[in-house]
C-alpha cells in the first residue's frame, strides 16, 4: 500500500452532517512522568529532563523480555493512575488486575503487553470540556487503565521512512515499559457539526488535566499524549451504530480536529454512494491532512487476554483514594475561570487564548515572570502566526521560559519589538535562548549614546538643510535624520532615544 491515499472522495461537511449523524470515540494514551518504568526500575524516558537519545540505554531485563526477568508494579504509577481516574470523575476499582495482551510484534519485548482488561483501575466517569463559544460539553468516560508502552521501530530503506517498502527495521526498547494510562471514552452522541471541535477540545482538556495533576509532561509532539480517534456515521433516524474506523496516532490538537472532520466527510461520501465502511485502523497523515487505510480488524486480533500471573491484584485502600482525591487540583474549567479573573482578561480575550491552545504556555510564561498582557500578546501574536503558517501547535515552537526571557529583554529596553521578533525567529530555529540569539546575531539595542551621537552628527552633517529646519523649530523634519540613523544602526537602536538625541545635537 503506498502512503496516503489522496483519491478519497469527500462529501461537503455540512451536507454530510445533514444526512448522517457522527458518533465519536477517543482512546488517549498518556505517558506518565514517573522516575521509573511501569514494571521495571529502569529510568523512564518520559520523566522530566530524561535524555534517552542513546538507543537501548534505558532498558531493564523485563523491558526486553529476557528469560527469567519478572515485572514489578510501580507504586507511583498506580497513584498517578488513581489521581487521573478521579480527575476524570471515575470510580476507582476496589480490586483491579493486570492482564496479558498477547500478540507478536518486534517492538514488544515479551510479545505480550501487560495491560488491564476486564478489571481496569478506573471506570465510568465524565469530563467537562469547554468549547470555543464558551459553552461546555460533557464527554462520558468508559474506563482508564494502566499499561506499558512498546519500544520504538525505525524503518530503514524505502522512500518514506514508513513501514511499507522498508528493507529492514531497527528496534530500540528505551520506550518499552514506559507507564501509560489509556483513557477510553464511551460513544459520544449528539456532537453533530461540532464533532471536530469537541474532539480537539476533549484532547486539550485531557492534556490540561494531566498537566495540572503533574503526572505527565503531556507534550503531544513528543508522544507523551497520543490520540486514536474513532468515527462512525449512521443515517439519520437509524438506531444501530455504523461501522467505525479507528484513526491512529493523531498527535496534535489541530490534527484531532482535522482527522475527525476528514473521516466524517470520507465516510459520508462512501455511504452516500451505497458503499460500506470497513472496520479498520487508519493512518493520519499530518502533511496532507488525510487518512489512509491500515490494518483491517481480523482474526489476528485475537489477543488471548488472561490475568497476568506474575503480578497480583491492585486493591487501593479507601484512605489512599481519599488522600488522592483531596489532593486533586481544581478542574480545568474552574481553573480557567479563576485564571481569567487573575489575569484581568475579558471573556473574548481569554477565549482566544483557550482556542489557540496556548493557555498552559501562557500560564507558564506568566509564572516565569512575564506580565499576563505581554504573554498574551506574544503567544497570540507572533508565535501563533508562525505556528499557523507551519501547521503546528504553538506550544511546540518555543518554551514558555524563552518567551518570558524575550519579554524581559523588551521590558528592559534591550530589544525593540522588531528586534524581539528576530530573536524569536532565532529561538524557534534552535539557536538557543533569547540571550544566546541576541549575542550570536548581535541584535542588542545600541544604548551607547556615544555611538548614536556619532551617527547623528554624521547624518546632520550630510543633511545641512534638515539641520537648519530643526534649528528653526520644525521638529518634524527630524524624522529624516532619525531614519538615516536607524538605518546606519541597522535597526538596533531605540528610535525614541535617537529622536531625543537628534533634537539635542541640532540645538547645540
Amino acid at each position: 500500500m503506498a502512503g496516503a491515499s489522496t483519491k478519497d472522495v469527500l462529501m461537503d461537511f455540512d451536507e454530510a452532517l445533514e444526512r448522517f449523524e457522527p458518533v465519536l470515540g477517543f482512546e488517549v494514551h498518556v505517558e506518565l512522568s514517573t522516575a521509573t518504568k511501569m514494571f521495571s526500575a529502569a529510568p523512564n524516558p518520559a520523566a522530566p529532563g530524561a535524555d534517552s537519545t542513546v538507543p537501548n540505554s534505558f532498558v531493564a531485563p523485563v523491558d526486553m523480555g529476557l528469560p527469567g526477568a519478572l515485572p514489578l508494579v510501580n507504586a507511583e504509577a498506580v497513584r498517578y493512575s488513581i489521581s487521573l481516574g478521579l480527575a476524570l470523575g471515575c470510580s476507582i476499582a476496589p480490586s483491579s488486575r493486570f492482564a496479558r495482551k498477547n500478540y507478536f510484534y518486534p517492538d514488544l519485548g515479551k510479545n505480550y503487553q501487560i495491560s488491564q482488561y476486564d478489571e481496569p483501575i478506573a471506570f465510568e466517569g465524565s469530563v467537562e470540556v469547554e468549547l470555543e463559544d464558551g459553552t461546555t460539553w460533557v464527554v462520558p468516560i468508559e474506563r482508564a487503565h494502566m499499561e506499558e508502552d512498546a519500544g520504538k521501530l525505525t524503518h530503514v530503506g524505502g522512500a518514506t521512512g514508513r513501514i511499507q517498502g522498508a528493507d529492514h527495521s531497527l528496534v530500540d526498547y528505551n520506550r518499552a515499559g514506559v507507564p501509560l494510562v489509556e483513557i477510553v471514552t464511551k460513544p459520544i452522541f449528539g456532537a453533530e457539526h461540532r464533532a471536530p471541535e469537541i474532539g480537539k477540545a476533549y484532547v486539550a482538556t485531557i492534556r490540561d488535566i494531566v498537566r495540572s495533576l503533574g503526572i505527565s509532561e503531556a507534550r503531544m509532539e513528543r508522544g507523551n499524549l497520543r490520540c486514536d480517534a474513532n468515527v462512525s456515521l449512521r443515517p439519520r433516524g437509524q438506531e444501530r451504530l455504523g461501522t467505525r474506523t479507528e484513526t491512529k496516532n493523531v498527535n496534535s490538537l489541530r490534527s484531532v480536529e482535522r482527522a475527525v472532520r476528514y473521516e466524517i466527510q470520507r465516510q459520508a461520501a462512501i455511504l452516500a454512494a451505497g458503499g460500506t465502511i470497513i472496520q479498520e485502523t487508519r493512518h493520519w497523515h499530518e502533511d496532507t491532512g488525510t487518512t489512509s487505510a491500515g490494518r483491517p480488524k481480523s482474526d489476528a486480533d485475537d489477543y488471548r487476554y488472561f490475568p497476568e500471573p506474575d503480578l497480583l491484584p491492585v486493591e487501593p485502600s479507601f484512605a489512599l483514594i481519599e488522600e488522592l482525591r483531596a489532593a486533586l487540583p481544581e478542574s480545568p474549567v474552574a481553573f480557567r475561570k479563576r485564571l481569567q479573573a487573575d489575569y484581568g482578561f475579558t471573556d473574548a480575550e481569554f477565549r482566544d487564548i483557550v482556542n489557540a491552545g496556548v493557555l498552559a504556555e501562557l500560564e507558564e510564561t506568566v509564572a516565569k515572570g512575564a506580565a499576563p498582557a505581554q504573554a498574551r500578546k506574544w503567544w497570540l501574536g507572533e508565535i501563533l502566526r508562525i505556528a499557523n503558517a507551519r501547521g503546528v501547535d504553538a506550544g511546540t515552537l518555543v518554551s514558555p521560559l524563552h518567551v518570558s526571557e524575550l519579554i524581559a529583554l523588551v521590558e528592559n529596553g534591550d530589544l525593540t519589538d522588531r528586534l524581539a521578533r528576530q530573536v524569536l525567529e532565532g529561538v524557534i530555529a534552535g539557536e538557543g535562548s533569547p540571550e544566546a540569539v541576541v549575542a550570536a546575531r548581535g541584535l542588542k539595542v545600541v544604548s551607547d549614546d556615544s555611538a548614536l551621537i556619532a551617527a547623528i552628527d554624521t547624518a546632520l552633517a550630510s543633511q545641512p538643510d534638515v539641520l537648519q529646519k530643526i534649528k528653526d523649530g520644525k521638529v518634524q523634519a527630524a524624522g529624516a535624520v532619525i531614519g538615516a540613523v536607524m538605518k546606519a544602526m541597522r535597526g538596533q537602536a531605540d528610535a525614541a532615544r535617537v529622536r531625543e538625541l537628534v533634537l539635542e545635537r541640532a540645538q547645540s
Binding site: 529492514h168 527495521s169 500471573p309
Partner: protein, 103 residues
C-alpha cells in the same frame, strides 16, 4: 461464540500456529490436530465441575498490592542489551522487513 465441543480441524491448527508464530509443516499440522483433539477431549473434563458458583483462582496464594517504590535501580548497559542480538545496527536490534502493522 465458538462451540467448545467441536473437533479441532487442520485449519484450526493452522490458524493457531499463525497466532503462535510457528511455521508448522503440513505433516506436523495434521499430526498435531489429532493429538490436540485427544488432549482437549480429556481436559474438557474441567467443565463438569466448573459451575458458576465456583470462583476462579489465578494465584495460588491470595496476595494483593505488591508494589515497587518509584526509584531507579539496575539498568542494563547497551552492550548487555545487545549481547545476545542475532543482528544489530547502530545500537538497535535489526529485523527484516515487517509486514503487519502496530496494534
Amino acid at each position: 461464540m465458538p462451540d467448545a465441543s467441536l473437533e479441532i480441524t487442520v485449519a484450526d491448527v493452522q490458524h493457531l500456529a499463525g497466532l503462535a508464530r510457528i511455521a508448522l509443516e503440513p505433516g506436523e499440522i495434521e499430526h498435531l490436530a489429532g493429538e490436540l483433539n485427544q488432549i482437549v477431549d480429556s481436559v474438557r473434563k474441567v467443565q463438569e465441575v466448573a459451575t458458576p458458583d465456583v470462583p476462579a483462582t489465578s494465584h495460588p496464594l491470595p496476595l494483593v498490592n505488591v508494589l515497587r517504590a518509584d526509584e531507579v535501580g539496575a539498568v542494563l548497559t547497551q552492550q548487555q542489551v545487545l549481547s545476545g542480538a542475532p543482528d544489530q545496527q547502530d545500537g538497535r536490534f535489526r529485523v527484516p522487513a515487517i509486514l503487519g502493522e502496530e496494534q
